[in-house]
């Protein structure tokens, strides 16, 4: 039945004729009706097609006949004859063809006209009358409308003028609505700042991949917002932090850590909204120190090493507390030292050990990456990137330290997972290479050694080579 609709219709016409359907040629309605049954008849047609070996029954139009003809010798002959004769002659010669042509013409006409003509016929007299009326009405309406439109044009202008004159009152109503919204905002607005701080924390938390903390943070957040605002006022607190860092690595550890461990990381900083006053003074001093600090990274390193070992309770208690209190939110945010220790420090905070003891999730104190090393790396890469004179302020360094502490936490967890999966109890070089491969740092063209050659000094390279002989 792959034939195009037209050939089908022709066949159907012929079929109807052969079956004697040709009787009432005059009934146009019947012819129309016949179309539908004809279509249904088509499925039955295949029998005729089989019979169609005879040239007459088969119409050239259908591809099937052509395909079927070669199968039988009669068909071949018929095809040859047809090819010899022009199709037009065959049609003309055959009486059926003439009859068909007449019917076909009529049917084609009916087909062409039927869709359009029927609605018209069905509603010749009655509907036409109302329709024209309606049309007329519409026209009238249209005519009327333009008149209306003109006044409309004038109206808006008037309105504008009115607005100008009365602008205040009209404008007010929208304001009223806004005001209502504002009121709603006011209700919620109180919480928004809190939420904002939470969201920041959440971002960090998400990085840390601790889902549970958020809820906990909410409770804590209320507490530290107050403090955070105060702390924000004193922008420079960082400097002091740096000092503390030198002495005591985990300054923020002071925070109340008592809360859940996870929460503790971020909460700590916030929890200490307390007094800001002393911190400000320190802050002012801080900036000067920053510059100095820049030049003296090695000194910082030495200091860092000292404090870690010492866990200076005395010094930290005095200096660290004041600083931490001052720095509530921002310190946590921008200034890494607190944040870095944060999660781990929660437990520590209880101890007051502050910086020195940040406890990991496993309860093991975590040392900080020495600030001097971080600064050295940061300045190196920053200068390679944006010029030889770029400086990294202490606040920036604090942010970098925080990022690096997060990095170590994340990497350590990944490495632990890899080694555990491998059934080992120690983190192996292969774990690190697997990690780097997953980080897309290693691929077929880049090996650990090429990276190491690029970044590491020779001595370390030597050690690395010994540890993992090239395959």
């Amino acid at each position: 039945m792959s034939d195009t609709p037209n050939p089908r219709s022709r066949r159907s016409a012929r079929d109807s004729e052969g079956s004697g359907a040709s009787t009432p040629a005059g009934d146009t309605t019947l012819t129309r009706l016949q179309r539908l049954p004809i279509h249904t008849r088509h499925p039955s047609t295949p029998s005729r097609l089989a019979v169609s070996a005879t040239p007459r029954s088969t119409s050239r139009y259908t591809p099937r006949n052509r395909g079927a003809a070669p199968s039988t010798p009669y068909g071949l002959r018929a095809m040859q004859r047809r090819a010899a004769n022009t199709p037009g002659r065959d049609r003309r010669k055959s009486g059926r063809g003439q009859r068909e042509t007449v019917f076909d013409v009529l049917r084609n006409l009916s087909k062409a006209l039927a869709p359009n003509s029927q609605p018209i016929r069905s509603s010749p007299q009655p509907p036409p009358e109302p329709e024209p009326e309606s049309e007329i009405d519409e026209i009238d309406e249209l005519d009327n409308e333009p008149a209306l439109e003109r006044p409309r044009l004038s109206l808006p202008l008037d309105e504008v003028e009115e607005d100008d004159d009365e602008g205040s009152p009209e404008i007010r109503p929208p304001r009223m609505s806004l005001a209502l919204e504002d009121e709603d905002m006011t209700h919620t607005s109180v919480e928004y700042p809190r939420r904002a701080t939470f969201d920041r924390d959440r971002g960090r938390l998400s990085m840390m991949s601790y889902g549970a903390r958020l809820s906990e943070n909410f409770g804590d957040a209320t507490g530290f917002e107050d403090g955070s605002e105060d702390g924000d006022a004193t922008g420079m607190v960082l400097d002091e932090d740096d000092r503390q860092d030198e002495t005591i690595i985990s300054q923020n550890a002071f925070d109340r850590g008592g809360d859940t461990e996870d929460l503790g990381r971020f909460n700590f900083d916030f929890n200490f909204p307390s007094p800001v006053g002393p911190a400000e003074d320190l802050d002012q001093d801080g900036p000067l120190n920053d510059d100095e600090g820049f030049e003296l990274p090695p000194v910082n390193l030495g200091l860092n090493a000292g404090p870690e070992s010492d866990y200076s309770d005395d010094g930290d208690a005095t200096g660290g507390f004041g600083l931490e209190l001052n720095l509530p939110d921002r310190v946590s945010m921008s200034e890494s030292p607190g944040l870095v220790g944060g999660g781990l420090r929660d437990e520590d905070t209880v101890i007051q050990g502050s910086k020195q003891k940040k406890l990991s999730r496993h309860g093991i104190p975590v040392p900080n990456m020495p600030a001097g090393v971080v600064r050295k790396l940061a300045t190196r890469f920053a200068r390679a990137r944006s010029g030889p004179k770029t400086k990294i302020s202490k606040t920036t360094l604090a942010a970098i330290e925080q990022a690096s502490s997060w990095y170590f936490e994340q990497v350590s967890e990944d490495l632990a997972a890899y080694s555990k999966h491998a059934g080992r109890k120690t983190i192996d070089e292969t774990d690190v290479t697997a990690l780097m491969r997953r980080q897309r740092h290693l691929n077929n063209t880049t090996t650990v050694f090429s990276l190491a050659q690029k970044h590491l000094p020779k001595e370390l390279l030597q050690d690395m080579r010994l540890a993992m002989p090239p395959r």
Binding site: V373, A399, Y407, S412, E429, L456
Partner: protein
Amino acid sequence: MAATQKLYPRATVKRIVKAQANRNSSKNADILIFLDYMLFMQELMREASIRSRKAGEKHISPNSVRKVTEKTLRKFKG
């Protein structure tokens, strides 16, 4: 490569990893970890400098570092 005699305190890196992972690291794994850390710092500073430059800052601001931190950390998620 201003790698002075001592590029980084190896013991510190080892301790950090051990504390965070609760596992010991093999003898020289910390070198690779530090190498990865250097890559992280490189990426972090690259992103931060790009961001600070876009913001028209003269030097890298802590804010730009903070904004970039999450993205960079995610890149280094194994």
